[in-house]
Subunit: 135 residues, 2 copies
DNA sequence: TCGATTTTGACAATCGTTTTCATTTGCGCG
DNA sequence: CGCGCAAATGAAAACGATTGTCAAAATCGA
């Protein structure tokens, strides 16, 4: 019966970047799948609990999920325009976090690191950013 | 008239770590201050807009605020037990983020970095972590 | 003091997420 | 094959943080 959970996972695998729960729900509905919002949320939680997907919060407090290639610790470089995501490793950052932590007497250090930017395709495609309408 | 705004700011200055809007509101009320939740939110937004306080999201999606010493770009080392916060600078991380970004063709790089841990006082005080009840 | 403008705050509205709860489904067992 | 239990499902209600609304109150300038 974890059929739905797999379906949800499938949607994420098809996606390039992070998707919100509501988003996934909408897409599944659009594809004709019979599933409830509740179940999508539950599937997403289950998947993140088992480490099958990564979760992070957008600036406006929404949780977004993504099926990640590796189960290892890694970070993301996310395009703020199209959502495309690149998994990146940052040994330097890991060490920095550890160092900073112990330097201040902290133990059990964990950290969250996300990098946002505009990817190449997006910056060439639409560029309403650099439009100096004056001076 | 920005009296309230200052009052809110004062509360944050008195605090060691990050506080949530509701939290600040509750404390002000407890102290007898006459202020509405709406106003607290507005003050907090104003303060973060002007850069007087830092904002970040907790894992459960709540926004928390803190009066920060410097207006410069910096990150935090937060004690997950008592909330005590240390502001840290990480030039290495800044550079890493930039590098990773451009390496993948991303522009306008921004990043979020937060380090969590258990501070010295907390790890000595309560230590339900390393309590070998003996075999 | 009068009126205009800003600020305030009680309350309703939003919105994502979670909970509730009755129903459905899968499945082992007799 | 039928029964019943336990997990899964989903519609709708509940929730909690945040935001919007709007009228009352404070403040300022003339």
């Amino acid at each position: 019966m974890s059929n739905r959970r797999d379906a949800v996972h499938a949607i994420l695998r098809q996606s390039e970047g992070f998707r919100s729960a509501q988003d996934v729900y909408a897409e599944m509905r659009a594809e004709g799948a019979k599933i409830g919002l509740t179940t999508v949320y539950r599937a997403l939680q289950a998947l993140s609990d088992t480490g099958h997907v990564d979760v992070l919060r957008t600036d406006d407090g929404e949780s977004v999920y993504r099926a990640c290639a590796s189960g290892d610790h890694h970070h993301h470089l996310v395009c703020r325009r199209c959502g495309r995501t690149v998994e990146v490793a940052g040994p330097a950052v890991e060490r920095w976090a550890e160092a900073i932590g112990s330097e201040h007497g902290f133990t059990e250090i964990t950290h969250t690191v996300e990098v946002f930017g505009t990817c190449a395709s997006c910056s060439t495609a639409a560029k309403p950013l650099r439009t100096p309408s004056r001076a």
